[in-house]
Symmetry: C2
Subunit: 585 residues, 2 copies
């Protein structure tokens, strides 16, 4: 029997991983990777750090951990895998099991026969239907070519002001890349009225928004880009960027900029698969089984061009992530060698760094859980990431999504300054989400304790405990969002804040909100119960939501139960500024 012939279309992340795994299992396999680009096997998620200058050259994004360049020669020598760059796959002929490819250098075409085929064609950046979106210099940063062009332009001193269209993950990462070293004034325009829409719940998104503003980023939330117009010199067809600038017209204004970056998400690059008659979802993602076979069992697909199962909702999801592509690549490599490895799906783990803030998420948000038919409840707690007496501690803002009916944990999100600490907590939740944990599993999740690294009762456990208390009706929560609406926007006369912190903490709020903000410290509440108004709805506030919960229990005992507990307390209100400009304290 002659060696198995495997053709892999796509040379970033999944393709090389599948190829190398296969070769380790079946060294005699004849493997060729084709990619239309000259750059292959690079860490695309590192692009913002290349643009920022943290990473000095694109070569670093293409190097192994032992400092070799992942060139075609490297793959040939170290992996016995042939890589043909600048070679575009034009069509798949499933009947004859051949891929038609075009050599972009020579213009020549040829057929590559295969016994097994892997489609790893990745994604295409979305291009919002905005007049001017195709102007030279209006660009995504989705590949190394655009990244290099953007960095060349920036480092050439040609960019004083930039507009980013879309405040998703890339849109929120880029302001630091543009601002920190290069000092570029950055405007971030987002059609939704929050940053990271669909990714982060509103309460935590408010914290991110405030942080971006603090870092000088000009936010235009709830704004649509109407048109992009070139100003100044037009580019020549050979120059990737216009030499002049742009005028970006939004739904309520206009921004002059030297650079416009579109960051409106990506979609599966599945045209080749669709043309070959493979099953593709309505949203354009290639449909695969758990062995990552397409509707043609001799053709595998993985990475940013497929849809996978969401392990929390049980529904298909498009979740393009380099990490998943790598894991899927290994599964495909195993199966190409005759194995039966499975990729079960995703819990949607996600992390980004936004200036000095880390953001992490796993599972689903309360909003998306409601859409999926769960009785979703947000549970927000704020606590130090180390023992509160340990000097370097900082706060983690941590939210669970809980299903009221089944007491199941559906997701977790967190924001905080110590990135590894934030991501580490969410990873612990991500790890158990496939096992369908209940709130009790989180209350007792065994975060290792040592004062420099965790609290004795860690923020994760506190969230589990709080979830139990909410589900058991002991803690009646109000989200920071509801607080904003009820107390600040509607200024409802029926509502009164009862601040149970020390007078020094409460004073600025009392000063600002007058008789709508009452202060009775929790430890004096039992003695001062007769001062508590019984004709109002009381919004209980402390620094974090913990002492105000204690106060709620005391008030309940006294028969005062028209109360709600403001989740995350003053810590969240101050950090997010969702309650408008906050008094200082």
């Amino acid at each position: 029997m002659s060696a198995k012939r495997v053709v892999i279309i796509g040379g970033v992340a999944l393709g090389p991983k599948a190829a190398c795994r296969l070769k380790r299992l079946e060294p005699d396999a004849d493997v060729v990777i084709v990619d239309q680009d000259e750059y292959i096997s690079y860490g695309g998620c590192g692009i913002p750090y290349f643009i920022s200058g943290d990473i000095s050259s694109v070569q670093e994004l293409m190097s192994t951990s032992f400092h070799m360049q992942r060139t075609p020669q490297f793959f040939q020598d170290a992996k016995d895998v042939r890589v043909r760059t600048r070679t575009r796959a034009l069509a798949i002929d499933r009947a004859s099991k051949r891929v038609r490819v075009l050599d972009l250098a020579s213009g020549g075409e040829e057929d590559l026969p295969y016994d097994r085929l892997v489609i790893a064609t990745g994604s295409i950046p979305n291009k919002p239907p905005i007049p001017g979106i195709d102007l030279p210099g209006v660009t995504s940063v989705s590949n190394l070519h655009s990244a290099i062009a953007v960095k060349d332009r920036i480092s050439g001193g040609k960019v004083d002001r930039a507009v980013i269209v879309g405040a998703g993950a890339i849109g929120c990462e880029m302001p630091e890349a543009l601002g920190d070293l290069w000092g570029i004034e950055t405007h971030l325009v987002e059609i939704e009225d929050q940053v990271l829409p669909g990714i982060l719940d509103r309460s935590l998104a408010g914290i991110v928004r405030a942080h971006l503003e603090e870092k000088g980023v000009q936010l235009h939330l709830g704004r649509r880009v109407i048109e992009i117009r070139a100003v100044g010199l037009p580019s020549t067809s050979s120059a990737p960027m216009a030499e002049g600038g742009f005028e970006v017209k939004t739904s309520d204004g206009s921004i002059q900029a030297d650079l416009v970056i579109t960051a409106a998400g990506v979609r599966p690059n599945s045209e080749l698969a669709r043309s070959a008659g493979l099953v593709v979802s309505p949203s354009g993602a290639i449909v695969v089984n758990r062995m990552l076979q397409t509707s043609d069992p001799e053709i595998y697909a993985g990475g940013d061009c497929i849809e996978i199962q969401h392990l929390v909702t049980g529904k298909p999801v498009y979740f393009p992530q380099g990490s998943l592509a790598n894991r899927q690549g290994r599964v495909i490599g195993t199966n190409l060698a005759g194995g039966a490895a499975k990729f079960e799906g995703t819990v949607g783990s996600f992390a980004i760094k936004i200036f000095d803030l880390a953001v992490a998420s796993a599972g689903i948000t309360p909003q998306s859980a409601l859409k999926s038919g769960f009785q979703a409840e947000p549970v927000l707690v704020v606590q130090a990431d180390r023992a509160h007496f340990y000097p370097t501690h900082d706060l983690i803002y941590f939210q669970l999504t809980v299903d009221r009916k089944t007491r199941r944990i559906l997701g977790a999100q967190a924001v905080g300054a110590h990135g590894d600490a934030v991501i580490g907590r969410v990873n612990a939740i991500a790890a158990i989400l496939p096992f369908k944990p209940a709130v009790e599993d989180i209350s007792n999740l065994e975060i290792a304790y040592s004062p420099p690294f965790a609290a004795a009762l860690d923020v994760v456990n506190a969230a589990g405990n709080t979830a139990e208390n909410i589900l058991d009706g002991l803690n009646r929560p109000m989200t920071p969002d509801e607080f904003e609406r009820c107390f600040l926007l509607e200024e409802s006369a029926d509502c009164l804040c009862l601040d149970v912190r020390a007078p020094a903490n409460a004073a600025p709020f009392v000063e600002r909100y007058g008789d709508r903000w009452l202060n009775i410290p929790q430890e004096t509440l039992n003695k001062r119960m007769d001062e508590v108004p019984r004709d109002k709805r009381l919004l209980l506030v402390c620094n974090s939501g913990a002492r105000s919960y204690e106060a709620m229990r005391q008030l309940d005992r006294a028969g005062i139960d028209n109360t709600v507990n403001v989740q995350g307390g003053a810590a969240v209100l101050k950090k997010s500024g969702t309650a408008g400009p906050q008094p200082k304290d």
Copy 2:
């Protein structure tokens, strides 16, 4: 019906937690905590940081996160819980449901009646049977009194040199506390031949040992303390410390010191329970069910005086941890109020900071897994904690314990410089250990990816993949320990190192070990296969164990299969110095 009377014996961690939880659920309960000490409700794990000076006063260890002191008055006002300090429980009369207590100030005795009783008597430091161990000035640091005495002596400038007896957790934490600010020369004496015996596997313990040595700590491993003798002025009976110094005689020498700290672990303080006829284990721990009831269902016990179930082995274990005490306290509080909460057990999560190194563990080590009847296999990998191209990355040394028969993950341990990153990884494993995960669950564990926080294929996943490869017979591992024995100690003539790194990395080793250390870079191996000796056992080495695995697959293909892959590669050999003094490279 009159209010339920609850007596709690012990006012640190579990006792207050149980009391406060109960009061939130059943505000009318009549709760009293008795404690023989004047200090209550303090963070005992913070003691090393109080001694180091990171925490300036013991008050900080007794304060809430909102800066109130947890005094008896605080518990009265804020929690409606009575606390009687300096009140010793003498005996429990289960028939009449009374606790006999002694007021240490007045000398008066009285009986406290209870409907429910909680025993939270904690632990007692072990005192090794060494002549001189009772000398004043030979002390543990297990409570605030001894901590204050030690710090007073240190800050009074009376300690130039200290001896710590026992290199367990406290023993390994203390050298930083003594050395960093105070500049005390510290000797660490341990009867076993590794640091953190029973806690950390040998390979990783070697890294910790090397780090302690690098920080100037004098290690005396495999040494027994024979006698401690007072030198100089004896103390008066009222002074907690001798004014003179000590001579510490070990099995092979003698150390002069101004301070001797014993850190030989703790045992359950269960005498009160035993005297009351409650069931106590052979090792002295109070036996409880999952609702944390003792053999008398009206008496609960928790914290450092009980044994619990190990969720990996299914066997009882004594695992005193402040974090578990807090979680158990909540369970007891719930059950005191008529609930049915359960504490299922522990996976043994553990973390400490040792100078600039973080150490974390969950589950069981290969050694203890073998003792428990598992076919335990260590799987050691080394990888950057961020994308390897991200500037701030550092290495994590990560080891799984895997059961060869069932492919079950039994534990994980890690060491590294970025503490939160190290602990976060181990916490993710800790989270799923109760669900009895298989290696495949680790390969696909969804660590959130972003270059500043993780690798696309994170170290956790790499460990899972490596475990699969080992169990599938593709990767034949050799531990660093075995390498040391085989290559360095026995200098077996049948063994040859094949270093597949770049020549620049390999050169110092080749120079040192001559023709026993062969260098053929992995990417040249296919072409240079005829240079590979076929009459020797080849120990394959790269920086981490990954490229040498690749080489093993290539060699297997060529029919050269008398090879083993040195786990963790040169990274571990260099970092641990287990292989003796290492060449620099």
